[in-house]
């Protein structure tokens, strides 16, 4: 039966009940009243009876069956008011629950509604509008101002400002130029773009987000699993109990009432609604939290480990100075850039970029490229061996560093640079200093994390100690581990984990994927477009923005708090109602009413999370009061100290 039909049935039942009420108020005729009530029972009960029947045909047990039995019982003993009220309330309750549940799930829905529908494609010189899902890889897609981008791709011509809020949760438009990446689901606010489709249909980042959130919403919280286990014992337990009630009291009606009221509706729904609303809120803000358990772990975090490069720093290192020994600086840079031309390493890229910026021509191609993980790169250039990298690599390749070169390198490092040694077979030819700017928000984020309950902050980096310590001090990180190889990071994360510590690892999700997988909660930041990171991490921050870390933490706390409120409410209501039933203070109809109301309150409470924003007026007020209290207590203790000081002097 379709929802619309059921709604019609509900309205007609409501009319019948109103008719019955009027009949009762004007004291017309008992027979008319009873007929109206019986008809109302049958009308309102019809969908429930059908469902119960269908389920039992499939040999499945259902709550509808319980209600049906209870209603038949009520009809037999002549409790027409009760039978009419119960069937109507059951229907009306489901209706309200459906409506409000939809609200609690509205975040994902509103996201899904942002899915692009049409695409403007240029094929063989002919422009045509086709369905977004019909675009194939390598199609040329044209996007004009105000249009939604239908695919993930690379801009080959044109420029514009793009609103990527569906992906990253940030509504400030980003300006995009040739060769930049654009994402399906974002909106071109101004400009004109021609884009080559790279990912289409279900492979786009946007589709992946939807899929991920859908799955995440089913990912059960520990509390939820506990509740389900509880419900599994609870349901048969209640059945046995109601049987006992029947045997003891010989009252079928009471036993049935007990059975129907004890149905754990609010209880089963209390945890999932909060989790779903919380996950939905996150998704709308570019924070993908993969399930209830992750949400719970997040709320308990007390330690955060950061990967430095790309997380605390901008991840766009640039060459600051070049020092050569014996050859010209341009010659050094040219050789270095030629060697690093195909390098994927961010330092290598910075060197190539610098060479391009200076207009240097890169002609020679390196051969025998040998990437020395965590050390550098060794190539054959123009028949000569060339090494680029750190001291560890120099040492292992038996290349000498004289004191002068070394003291220069140390000086560079002390001022926050990474020194890249460029050397031939036997000596250092020069040093290229590269620095990566610290993010402007980093210090503030660390501070806010601390005030949100993070006691330990750690930074991991493959960089030298000097640079690492400078960055760490600048932004207020407690512990710094430098000179790490990628595999060391995992060990450091393991070493930091321990009793009473809930640890999150924040990184870019690509280079530090193993460390992210090791931590209690792995967080990948700024990963729109990188599938690997989206898959391995527990939390994915789509935007390249540290602020989201604080938002995520506060959202998780609010969600878990909300879940606990709901559970308390649900368990409390059931306990109260059952006592009421057994003491005969609650009958089936009023019990049903209160039961449905409690379900509704639980859902409404969860809906608050959909709108949740950290730092609401209320939270600020709490924070202020706490600060105020601290100030007062401090001034009291200061007074006490000074008075004791005075006392001492007197003595």
């Amino acid at each position: 039966m379709k929802a619309k039909q059921i709604n019609k049935i509900m309205y007609s039942a409501a009319l019948l009940l109103m008719g019955a009420l009027i009949t009762y108020l004007f004291n017309w005729n008992e027979a008319v009243l009873n007929t109206l009530l019986i008809v109302a029972t049958l009308v309102a009960g019809y969908p429930t009876f059908i469902k119960a029947w269908k389920a039992s045909l499939m040999k499945l047990f259902s709550i509808e069956l319980l209600v049906t039995i209870a209603v038949i019982g009520a009809l037999i003993i002549g409790e027409y008011v009760e039978s009419a009220a119960v069937t109507f309330l059951f229907l009306f309750g489901a209706f309200l629950e459906g409506r409000s549940l939809e609200k609690s799930r509205s975040s994902l829905k509103s996201l899904m509604e942002m899915a692009p529908l049409e695409a403007n494609v240029l094929r063989d010189g002919i422009r045509s509008v086709i369905k977004a899902e019909d675009v194939v890889k390598n199609d040329l897609v044209i996007i004009q101002t105000g249009e939604k981008i239908p695919i993930d791709g690379r801009i080959i011509s044109g420029r514009g400002s793009v609103n990527e809020s569906t992906i990253t949760g940030e509504s400030v438009p980003v300006s995009k130029d040739e060769n930049d990446q654009v994402f399906s689901g974002s909106i071109l606010e101004g400009g004109y773009l021609e884009v080559i489709a790279e990912k289409v249909g279900e492979d786009t980042t946007f589709s992946k987000i939807i899929e991920l959130v859908e799955e995440a919403q089913e990912g059960k919280a520990k509390t939820q699993r506990f509740l389900e286990k509880f419900a599994a014992i609870y349901t048969p337990g209640i059945m046995a109990l109601s049987l006992l009630v029947w045997i003891v009291t010989q009252d079928v009606h009471l036993a049935l009432t007990f059975l129907v009221i004890a149905c754990p509706g609010a209880l089963v729904i209390s945890a999932p609604v909060s989790i779903v609303a919380g996950i939905g809120n996150g998704a709308r803000n570019g924070i993908l939290i993969k399930g209830g358990e992750v949400m719970e772990n997040l709320s308990k975090l007390n330690a955060v480990v950061f990967d430095k490069t790309g997380t605390l720093t901008q991840g766009r290192p640039a060459v600051t100075t070049i020092k050569s020994f014996g050859i010209s600086e341009n010659k050094l840079l040219t050789m270095a850039a030629e060697a690093e031309l195909i390098s994927e390493h961010h330092l290598g890229k910075a060197i190539v970029k610098e060479a391009e910026r200076n207009g240097l021509e890169l002609v020679n191609k390196p051969t025998d490229v040998n990437v020395l993980k965590g050390r550098g790169i060794k190539v054959n250039l123009n028949g000569d061996s060339l090494y680029l990298g750190n001291r560890k690599g120099l040492f292992e390749n038996n290349i000498d560093i004289d004191a002068k070169v070394n003291s220069y390198a140390v000086k560079q490092e002390e001022s926050g640079n990474t020194a890249v040694f460029v050397a031939n077979r036997n000596s250092v030819l020069g040093i290229i200093s590269i620095a990566d700017k610290v993010r402007s928000k980093a210090a503030n984020t660390i501070h806010e994390l601390k005030s949100a309950g993070i006691k330990h902050t750690v930074m991991l980096t493959g960089d030298n100690e000097h640079t690492a310590n400078i960055v760490g001090k600048k932004i207020g990180i407690q512990k710094v581990f430098a000179n790490l190889l990628p595999e060391d990071k995992v060990n450091k994360v393991k070493a930091c984990m321990g009793k009473g510590i809930k640890l999150a690892m924040v990184g870019d999700g690509v280079n530090d994927a193993p460390a992210i997988a090791t931590a209690d909660v792995g967080i990948a930041m700024g990963v729109a477009g990188t599938d690997v990171a989206m898959e391995t991490a527990d939390v994915v921050l789509m935007a390249d923005n540290l602020d989201k870390l604080v938002y995520m933490l506060k959202l998780s706390k609010a969600t878990v708090r909300n879940m606990k409120q709901n559970m308390f409410l649900a368990i409390g209501t059931v306990a109260l109602l059952l006592t009421g039933v057994l003491t005969k203070n609650v009958n089936l109809a009023s019990g049903m009413l209160i039961h449905e109301l409690s379900v509704l309150v639980v859902i409404l409470n969860a809906i608050r999370l959909v709108q949740y924003k950290p730092n609401t007026i209320w939270e600020r007020l709490v924070l202020r009061t706490q600060q105020g209290m601290r100030l007062i207590s401090r001034s009291i203790s200061v007074n006490r100290n000074s008075s004791s000081f005075v006392n001492k002097r007197r003595a």
Partner: protein, 70 residues
């Protein structure tokens, strides 16, 4: 092995998860049925030689849940 997703009307009671999954898992050719309660969808892995998607849809409707789209 094929995978299909059915969109249902808003699911309200968690007890319907067991109902739908139970009915589908009893069906021949169904490898795995999973109800995504919060997005009101059913994800079914099935062998298309033994059972068709139409049959699966009819089965879900027979338990009492109208399928909106697949």
């Amino acid at each position: 092995m094929k995978t299909i997703k059915f969109q249902l009307e808003t699911l309200t009671c968690p007890s319907c998860i067991a109902k739908i999954e139970g009915a589908l898992n009893k069906e021949h050719g169904v490898e795995e049925a999973k109800v995504l309660f919060n997005s009101s969808k059913v994800k079914v892995k099935y062998d298309s030689e033994e059972v068709s998607s139409d049959q699966l849809e009819k089965l879900i409707e027979k338990v009492g849940f109208p399928v909106l789209s697949s």
